[in-house]
Symmetry: C3
Subunit: 352 residues, 3 copies
């Protein structure tokens, strides 16, 4: 909430989104307003989370940041799950992962590389993250590859999906123990640490109130947005895959996008890599399994079976991001190539 412009935009588009929803305006208008409103309320939620995390102390704060970092995406996806739009949920998870690893990382590296000839970072920490992400994403997608190649019965699908979701959640909790308790000094980056030490803009009490308010706003706008998707998709002849993987993922990830690019432009490319890779880790290990458990609670379990196209997209993105982030140096051409791969995937998803 650093500027008055942000507050004004937040209020304006929240109001427009609410108005268009309750007054039953044209669906495309509703979609556009709620999509823009999501950008603002997700940004608001991100700032409130950071502020509360600041007051909560280092360890609990880190946990909050790690868990609520993708809260906006999680809330949007929960509404999709509730509507039974499982294909769009999986498409949006796919889109969030490839968006982070190709679009966020690509833009950061490209723009940072245009300003600085070569950007370097401590590849020990980031490369570590990259290896873990490879492992995590493999863990997430192994069952999909299994079930794609052999026919399972529906009951087994459900059992497999829930078991894998449980293993992933356990992996995530162990990761929190690892990164915040046993090896926290190994992964800390001095530069990003400095950024986190900035004094928050709000008091403790106000931060908590804002966190609750922002969560409620995200939930409302998400519900309105999801309500328009069906008709919007039909009207423009777009596939669920494209809407989920590109439109929703970009809107839900906008906060990370701008933060990562800002860091790259300050020659802190390590922080940008951390955001992109960390966010992907969180989606694979936390958001995806939570959605599977949530769907079971809503009465119909979402399976964990991604389509071959989604698997291809994710596999390619992880492979590239791991290659790029392992050598600890970046230049503009690497960023450009990441974006090229993103464009190719975008065209392919659009044409499906």
């Amino acid at each position: 909430m650093r500027s008055k412009w942000f507050v004004a935009g937040l209020a304006l588009f929240f109001a427009l989104s609410a108005g268009s929803h309750f007054l039953h305006w044209n669906m495309t208008v509703q979609f556009a307003f709620s999509a823009i409103a999501i950008l603002f309320v997700a940004g608001f939620l991100g700032q409130a989370t950071e502020s509360v995390a600041h007051y909560a102390g280092q360890r609990l704060g880190g946990f909050l940041n790690a868990t609520f970092g993708n809260a906006a995406e999680l809330i949007i996806a929960l509404f999709l799950v509730k509507e039974g739009l499982f294909d769009m949920v999986k498409a949006s998870l796919t889109g969030a992962i490839i968006g982070n690893l190709l679009l966020v990382l690509g833009l950061s590296i490209l723009l940072g590389g245009l300003k600085y000839k070569q950007q370097r970072y401590n590849e020990e920490a980031a490369g570590h993250n990259a290896t873990l992400m490879v492992l995590a994403v493999i863990g997430l997608f192994v069952p999909a590859m299994f079930v794609t190649s052999e026919r399972f019965s529906a009951a087994k699908d459900e059992l497999l999906s829930l078991s894998v979701a449980a293993i992933l959640i356990v992996s995530y909790l162990l990761w929190l123990v690892f990164s915040m308790v046993t090896h926290k000094e190994l992964l800390r980056d001095e530069q990003s640490q400095a950024d986190h030490d900035e004094a928050p803009a709000w008091s403790r009490r106000r931060s908590i109130v804002y966190l609750l308010l922002a969560t409620a706003m995200v939930a409302l706008v998400s519900e309105w947005l999801v309500g328009t998707l069906d008709q919007f998709t039909t009207e423009f002849g777009l596939s669920e895959l494209f809407v989920g993987a590109f439109l929703i993922a970009i809107v839900g990830n906008a906060a990370e996008h701008s933060a990562a690019v800002m860091l790259a432009l300050k020659n802190k490319i390590g922080g940008a890599v951390e955001i992109a890779v960390g966010s992907s880790l969180q989606i694979a290990l936390f958001v995806a399994p939570v959605l599977i458990f949530a769907s079971a609670l809503f009465g119909k379990t979402m399976d964990i079976l991604f389509t071959p196209i989604e698997l291809t997209a994710i596999g390619v993105s992880v492979f590239i991001a791991a290659s790029v982030s392992r050598d600890g140096r970046t230049n503009w051409y690497e960023g450009a190539l990441l974006l090229m791969v993103y464009f190719i995937l975008g065209i392919a998803f659009f044409l499906v």
Copy 2:
């Protein structure tokens, strides 16, 4: 044969396995006794091989160790081949590779990492091994991917399988030349070297007698074990894939498991990586092709076509092990994640 307990266990379970076999006890009892007996006789064979290798001098001894290191697995698999249980053979090869790369390596890294914050090793030697393993396993599985995607005639399958087996054996012989003749000082690890220099417990003559005895015992128990598998599998409703890839592979690999974990607990994680990766190399380059030639001698050539599930499992394991072993540092979380992936694969194999 370091302790009296080991000798007692060996004698007891060999006798129980033999008794249950010849007296036609309940199949499950037969299976359980011969599975436990295999653990002991495989351990005995391993010790006898090392002792003979000690007397044989450095070069021939290295060759013996390299070739008979997986002798127990090879013998079990030969009986499976003789029975025509080709699917179970391939499942057990798959299981041996993923067991080494995920279970053995994962447990070693996890337990070592709980004791020591970060374990380091000379990544030059181990990383070298890892690259070779990637190459080797690719060599083994390329034909499977080919034949899976295009239909070959049966005659061509056989020709392709035998040709590839020949190429793999040649690769293995060249690897022995490389690691024991032309570049032996590059790959030697001082720590593991020290372990090998321990004086053997037996005289030269006794070592040879024990080697022959142990081989005979492994062969007998393997035959008894294989004889129970059919009925055991049916009775418990398990798939051949699960029994081959998990039960048989764990039993046949127990000696490597304990040796690798012991090294990790002594902060010699490099030795543990070497065991896990080296054993996988041997299975891909030596055991698998020998089994194909053996099947041709038995009258019906086993093809080299692994199922998509097996390929997925192996590909994932190799990719992870290569990632982990390339950076020369390990911590408990990496071990935990390897185990998580092993659990996911185990659940999926169980449900197929």
Copy 3:
């Protein structure tokens, strides 16, 4: 044109190829003569290109070398495209990539490694190239994987193929900017630089005349060669896949083969890696898309859909080459394994 033997061979086999073509000799004889003639005229074209590049100055010369480096392959493939032999075109692109990454690199590393125990090179430059190649090849093959897994309509295939081709050409142009303008000092290798500084054998004017002459000769012999393929393939019962991926690719790449092996034998293994990887980059990013645009101009757009077998072969080759070239050290066994993988692929392509 360093020796009289080369000039004599060039003249002789060009004449024999022309004679056998116009006098309608036996097809196999025509094929053999034009295949040998291609070796000579491609070598001639390579020398003329280098000589013109020398006079053109550093920047334009680099561009010429980069763009005409695979001119012989491009010209052969253009005639295949004109004949509508799309499957053979894609097979020959596949063959050029795996030939560079397995055969050229494997032979160079093997022969260099037999002479020198361990060869080292600046992995910063070569590893950089390898990462880019991985990215580039992924970019090329993502659409194939997409379309293989989901059915697209023919119109969408064409749109996707043309879009991807455009993105790849842009990537290639950006790569030229990167490697010749913004980061040229990063990628320059002092050793290979020294080689390029050798004075050319011909005057400026003669170089240009020779370049035009060589291009014309390559075009003629390519047309004659392509004209024999149909009957030759049928007569010997060979698949288009095998002829395209092995015979044509080896013939078209002979110049790179000998240059790379020569560098390896002079202990300049970095130059050999650069040739093999650089040539693959050029094929994926420049030759392939140019052929797609050319086919559109000829009236029937070639799609960009490679078969699963081709994708497997390329994926495996890139993965191996990236592994080998990333650690900056090579030995004979790595070369031997690359060749083993090449043999396995060769047998599999032959049997398809």
